[in-house]
């Protein structure tokens, strides 16, 4: 939860914005950013659906480099864990 996701604002309607990262689009609340003018094209750090700070495109790209690496590993692990859980659920396993 504390990691946050850098996203780009692509559409804005009041405090709600459509934001994108890596081709994925999400509704993000800009309610916590009332002190900071934000426009379409700006990048924000998003925590649990809420933008908590503005950032530059370069900062967002650098954060994504790290996350890409971590997410790739975690997706592989989740799959391995599900397989292990399925094996554990098979009869005869305590």
């Amino acid at each position: 939860m504390c990691l946050g996701i850098p996203m780009r604002i692509v559409e804005r309607d009041g405090f709600n914005a459509r934001c994108e990262a890596k081709g994925v689009s999400r509704t993000v609340s800009l309610f916590l950013m009332q002190h900071e003018p934000l426009e379409v094209g700006d990048f924000v750090m998003v925590h649990t659906g809420y933008a908590i700070e503005k950032m530059t495109e370069a900062e967002a790209a650098s954060a994504w480099e790290i996350y890409d690496e971590m997410l790739a590993i975690e997706l592989a692990e989740d799959a391995a864990m599900r397989a292990a859980a399925d094996a554990a659920a098979s009869p005869g396993h305590a």
Partner: protein, 376 residues
């Protein structure tokens, strides 16, 4: 920005006389450290200790029990961040011991990823009582304040287990057993609250401190900073994440948090009550406090209420007193697919992170430190 290799060179060039224990208090930091395999790259004198950085791990057992009880009521839809669903409590036999089990038993339990989803679910289901069970640190408490300030549907209430990050560090520093020589402070907590919250660490305790982001460059910059402060015996608070951490934090978030919550003494699972360490809803929000709406009261006869599962050493792991693999359940009785304690459940729990980065076996507690060598 300096690249990670250059920071490592600088760290290796520091004249470290003896062991230096650097604690982090953020699951995101621990994840980055483990994934990048930083421990294996640092000089052997440097120990990186995962400390209290997982809000799910310190959420009181009693609160989880209450959430499960609510989830079993016919009129209630219980929503929570996904991490919370598998955390076990000490329910009597034949009763659900986790929210996941409550859901399997027919309870309406839904994982959410944002407070805004709780509002949407409540609006879409006006005949249901929707309860948002919220365990989190400042980074999730700020969005919760945003959600509340934007207006709550009548049928939405909150079971709040939110905590501040710094009081656990203050407790460790005031205890006779500090257990670390330097602190890496959590980046996004400081984005919201401001870095000044951590000034007390160097100012009152002469312990080096640096706020860090989540990339290897920012983490290594913070490690270089605190190690250099240590070598020079000159402790101060450094900001190694200036792109997202500004003086005073996020003013809107802090104002809304102050309007919605008061800071109260709060219980930390396995640790006890820490003064001024929790957020509670202010009186004007009492109508949306699930504890009041459903008249939740502790059952004085419930066995092992508030206790950790037998043999589980999560409390000492959370406090950085032992490494995850020094718990005797680690990797054998306790794994992510069959977790015993909360630290093996949450993505931010140190046990889960170590297990996920390939450290799968426990070692005796008196063994010399030989921390995880991630190979990401």
């Amino acid at each position: 920005m300096t690249d990670p290799a250059a920071w490592l060179e600088r760290i290796r060039a520091l004249p470290l006389a003896g062991r230096v224990r650097v604690m982090n208090v953020c699951g995101g930091h621990e994840r980055s450290i483990s994934r990048a395999g930083l421990r294996a790259l640092l000089p052997p004198q440097v120990e990186l200790i995962p400390g209290p950085g997982c809000p799910v791990c310190v959420c009181p057992e009693e609160d989880i029990y209450d959430a499960i009880a609510l989830a079993q009521r016919d009129e209630v839809t219980l929503v929570a961040f996904g991490d919370m669903l598998r955390v076990p409590c000490n329910a009597p036999k034949a009763q659900p011991r986790s929210l996941e089990q409550a859901r399997a038993a027919g309870g309406d339990v839904r994982p959410i990823a944002s407070p805004a989803e709780a509002v949407r679910i409540a609006r879409d289901n006006p005949a249901r009582q929707v309860v948002f069970f919220m365990a989190g640190f400042e980074t999730t408490t700020a969005p919760l304040a945003g959600m509340i300030a934007e207006g709550l549907p009548d049928n939405l209430s909150i079971l709040l287990s939110a905590r501040l990050t710094w009081p656990a560090v203050a407790m460790l520093l005031a205890s006779g057993e500090v257990g670390f020589d330097a602190l890496v402070a959590p980046g996004h907590v400081a984005t919201v609250m401001g870095p000044e919250e951590w000034d007390f660490v160097p100012a009152a305790h002469n312990i080096p401190a640096a706020v860090a982001g989540f990339g290897a460059d920012s983490l290594l910059a913070s490690l270089y900073s605190v190690l250099r402060q240590h070598v020079e015996d000159r402790a101060f608070l450094d900001n190694c994440y200036p792109v997202l951490v500004r003086p005073g934090g996020n003013p809107t978030a802090r104002r809304l948090m102050d309007e919605c919550f008061e800071v109260v003494d709060a219980n930390w699972r396995g640790i006890g009550v820490l003064p001024a360490s929790g957020f509670a809803l202010r009186p004007h929000l009492a109508a949306h406090d699930a504890r009041l709406r459903f008249d939740l009261a502790a059952d004085p006869h419930r066995k092992r209420a508030g206790e950790m599962p037998p043999g589980c050493d999560c409390a000492r792991v959370v406090l950085g007193r032992i490494y995850p693999d020094q718990c005797r359940l680690f990797g054998a009785a306790c794994t992510p697919s069959s977790p015993v304690g909360p630290c093996m459940v949450s993505d931010e729990g140190a046990c889960r992170i170590w297990w996920s980065t390939g450290k799968r076996e426990c070692r005796p507690e008196d063994a010399p430190p030989a921390p995880v060598t991630g190979d990401a």
